[in-house]
Symmetry: C2
Subunit: 232 residues, 2 copies
Amino acid sequence: MRVALITVGDEILSGDIENTNATWIARKLKELGSSLIKISVVPDDVEMIAEEIRSIEADYIIVTGGLGTTPDDVTREGVAKALNLEMRLNQEALECMKKYIEKYGLSEQIKKMATLPEGSKVICNRVGAAPGFIVQNIVVLPGVPKEMTSMFEEISELFRGEREITREVVTTAREMRITELLEELTRTFQDVKIGSYPKENSVKIKITGRDEKRVQEVCNILRERLKEYEMS
Amino acid sequence: MRVALITVGDEILSGDIENTNATWIARKLKELGSSLIKISVVPDDVEMIAEEIRSIEADYIIVTGGLGTTPDDVTREGVAKALNLEMRLNQEALECMKKYIEKYGLSEQIKKMATLPEGSKVICNRVGAAPGFIVQNIVVLPGVPKEMTSMFEEISELFRGEREITREVVTTAREMRITELLEELTRTFQDVKIGSYPKENSVKIKITGRDEKRVQEVCNILRERLKEYEMS
């Protein structure tokens, strides 16, 4: 499954917080066997959220953040705008928020959180107030990490796919010297992805593919042939 | 200045590493007085890099990562494709890499790193091998943090702008209860941005604007009026 992630929030764009939600979701999707094809961080702005959603082609788009009650929380509107849908007070969402309604009445804030793009399927929030939702291929979750992770676990089966195998080979050879070897292997093993990540005194090579035997074969060749570069 | 950041790298999309470059650049841009309007993370893929660059309207686009010598390093090609430019062996880049050329000769790897979109202005790499470059409004830097930060510091004046003032007010009032107050202030102070970030037992309100007096005025009103919500 090809999945894209949009994180909504000025706080990440100003460098005030790290995008830990993105890293968490990236790892989960990989475990489940889906590929994360893009991460975007956009401001709390209806137009920019809508534009980003419209620009992405993926099996699913996950959007996190901007589901609260304050004026900067505009993700619901952004999603509706992207899909040309009306906003409607959602009965399922009100049902999820029963305990808040009992405590505060049907306040404007509760109405705001329960007003979703028409046709949304609600994901109840068991940790906080604002419900998440799924509409077409868009999955919308809160930005508060505890709430996001709890909701994600509930719907994670959506993203179950065929798992990829990853192996790593670390070498002390300089990246510039092993380029030709990696090029040759990339040409020969077209069903295997070979990524190379230079660190200070070593290079990490990641070998990824669906077929464990093929991945292992690349690892074996690498381990054997890298020896000459490491020694020289 | 409105700046967008594109981080290139499968390693971030698979959740293997945090996008620390993005957070570092976000903070730097804010210090310099520029606004980061979007962060994207895209795979090591010429087409997707080019598409993302083409989709962004900003004063500057910073692209990091994918400048090495291995087959998955395709950022140079992605930038050239986005701008419809030819790739050319760049003399300035070769000059920067003199010490590597003396050591290894004009190897295929060195030629790859020095082959840039035509018209690129080179940024020498004082920490590693691969040069960065600026072409039109696109600033391209390596992904290795030490190399990226060193190069960014050299060109940081590009991003100098009028600085914004930010103040924070933290309240123990529930976010749902203070929404109307924030809406009222957002309407009244249109030159000031009011963001609200719920934490476990408190809400952080960030007030940002160019005019210090106006920002302070909003803070004072908030501090005064939040008292009633905190006590009740």
